[in-house]
């Protein structure tokens, strides 16, 4: 007696599939993954350069000037 689905409720998977068909540019997970990978590779390439000396020196200088009162 309960073999009919309640009206108005859709299986979530079906709902997602319908949505995907309606969206013209739905990114494939593969493309998403590649974009994410490239973005992080590019970013990490800079991060791995560490702290350039100019910034360590800058902090030392600013710290000194704070010690002596603002110049």
């Amino acid at each position: 007696m309960n073999d009919r689905k309640p009206p108005g409720r859709q299986n979530p998977m079906e709902a997602a599939a319908t949505r995907n068909k309606k969206t013209p540019v739905k990114l494939s997970r593969e493309i998403q993954a590649r974009l994410g990978q490239q973005l992080r590779a590019m970013y990490d390439d800079v991060v791995e350069q560490g702290v350039p000396d100019r910034f360590t020196e800058l902090l030392n200088r600013l710290d000194d000037s704070e010690n002596k009162g603002k110049p």
């Binding site: 998403q32 590649r34 994410g36 590019m42 600013l62």
Partner: protein, 183 residues
């Protein structure tokens, strides 16, 4: 007594990521390093407004982002079509970023509107949560989410012009990184 040692370490610890963020914003290593320097000067001048125990990186990113935005607005008045100008400056300096292999991706990234680019980088590379990114950009979490989504869609379009199969051939890494954020 100067800067507290733990504060100093926290600031220095954030510098590599700040630089990467700055480069993604302005497209030039030299300009990015100036931006980081100006950020550090401002941060130390206002160190009393930093609340100990909160996220130092997020605080510094906020200062850098706001500083960049105000500079950017100034320049926008001076330079017509700043996004196009930015893309041009990248083209003329393909090696500025250090590695030629990223040049295609960088060119695509440069074509995104600044608000989408910064949202994508904060969430997709800097490792901030949507909430933190929203705080840094001074907007709603939903706004960040939609900017990130639009950025991804647009990037995919831009990259696929040259053939989606041509970029990022590292299959092993790809399997690990299925489109999600780092956080």
């Amino acid at each position: 007594m100067g800067i507290d040692e733990s504060v100093r370490q926290a600031i220095l610890g954030a510098v590599p990521s700040l630089r990467a963020f700055a480069i993604s914003l302005c497209g030039s290593v030299d300009r990015a390093d100036d931006l980081v320097q100006e950020t550090l000067v401002r941060a130390l001048a206002n160190i009393d407004s930093f609340q100990p125990g909160t996220n130092m990186a997020a605080w510094l990113f906020t200062i850098l982002r706001n500083h960049f935005r105000s500079e950017y607005r100034k320049r926008r008045r001076e330079v017509e079509d700043s996004d196009g100008h930015y893309a041009e400056s990248l083209k003329s300096q393909p090696d500025q970023y250090g590695r030629v292999e990223f040049s295609e991706f960088r060119a695509a990234l440069a074509k995104l509107p600044t608000d989408q680019r910064e949202a994508l980088v904060l969430v997709g590379a800097s490792g901030f949560s949507y909430e933190e990114a929203a705080h840094i950009c001074g907007c709603a979490v939903g706004t960040i989410k939609s900017r990130v989504n639009r950025a991804r869609t647009r990037l995919a379009e831009l990259m696929s012009i040259d053939g989606a199969e041509d970029f990022g051939p590292d299959q092993a890494t790809r399997a690990v990184l299925v489109g999600n954020d780092r956080s």
